[in-house]
């Protein structure tokens, strides 16, 4: 039995609620750190300008699974550490380093069933100033109820 107290209860949210935009940015050093974990040491297209250009990119990009980890972080910062039941992302464009990444979350459905108190969220990551859309997706969160607290 763990005792981490929830940040958000099911009763606190409603259909249509919006969170953000949360503006993130990923530094070169963060990407190098991340790449060191998954057997993709620098230099590579994620960390090096020349390597990125060699494969047709404008510059080094943030790996997809790192972008997913950032989205997950924003969700757990908002809702609590162990609330993510499903995260499904479609990458629409390469995510650059050192640029503002505007992440938006909107609640698109809520339901209570045998699996829990489920909150479905639509997710976007964009850079409005550059007219770029980096990802779309959905998350399913399982939130605790105040009734059970």
């Amino acid at each position: 039995m763990t005792t981490e107290y929830p940040k958000l209860y099911f009763e606190d949210v409603d259909l249509g609620d919006e969170i953000g935009p949360v503006v993130l940015s990923v530094s070169d050093e963060q990407v190098v750190d991340f790449c060191s974990l998954w057997g993709n040491p620098a230099p590579n297209r994620f960390t090096d300008q020349a390597e990125a250009e060699r494969v047709g990119l404008e510059g080094p990009i943030v790996p997809g699974i790192m972008t997913m980890a950032l989205v997950s972080r924003v969700l757990t910062d908002w809702a609590g550490a162990e609330t993510v039941a499903d995260l499904d992302l479609v990458f629409r464009g390469s995510v650059p380093h050192n640029e503002p990444l505007h992440m938006g979350i909107q609640i698109s459905d809520t339901s209570e069933d045998d699996t829990g108190n489920m909150v479905q969220c639509d997710i976007t990551m964009t850079n409005p100033a550059a007219d770029r859309r980096y990802l779309i997706g959905t998350a399913m969160l399982n939130l605790p109820s105040r009734d059970a607290a």
Binding site: R73, D77, V84
Partner: protein
């Protein structure tokens, strides 16, 4: 039942499970992962805080197992396209992963399908991986979509 597409590839891969691992989830892996994405939840960054909260060790953030999903998977020999990119990722956490866990992965080809839009035709190659811990408990399902374009 796989989607029917106009391009040839190795259909014999359907129904075959590809095993990889073991992957040890260490405190160092969790800490570097957490630091690189700006994570500051105490149970993800501080072993003592996780222990105090009742966990067996430092807790892995929900999508960490995707790090281990890039095992050697076979070439499906798709007779289409030249340029590949990561088109999508889905993670469904099933149980808490903590430092000290030893994960194994079982992956299979889930589907290959095409979509045609303004920029042309793209083929999506979808692999599905199930991660289990040292107790045989399923801890996460992961889907990865690799996109191939003309």
């Amino acid at each position: 039942m796989p989607t029917q597409i106009d391009y040839e590839y190795d259909h014999s891969l359907y129904g075959v499970e590809h095993q990889s691992g073991p992957f040890e989830v260490t405190n160092d892996i969790i800490s570097v992962y957490a630091r690189s994405v700006g994570e500051d939840n105490p149970i993800f960054v501080d072993r003592d805080a996780a222990l105090a909260a009742g966990y067996a060790d430092q807790v892995a953030p929900p999508t960490l197992c995707a790090l281990f999903e890039r095992g050697e998977l076979p070439d499906i020999k798709l007779q289409f396209g030249r340029r590949q990119f990561h088109g999508g990722q889905r993670v469904t956490p099933r149980a808490t992963i903590v430092a000290g866990d030893i994960l194994t992965a079982s992956s299979h080809l889930k589907d290959v399908y095409t979509k045609t839009g303004r920029s042309g035709t793209m083929a999506h190659v979808v692999w599905e991986t199930t991660f289990r811990n040292q107790h045989g408990t399923i801890v996460a399902d992961v889907q990865r979509s690799q996109v191939v374009r003309e």
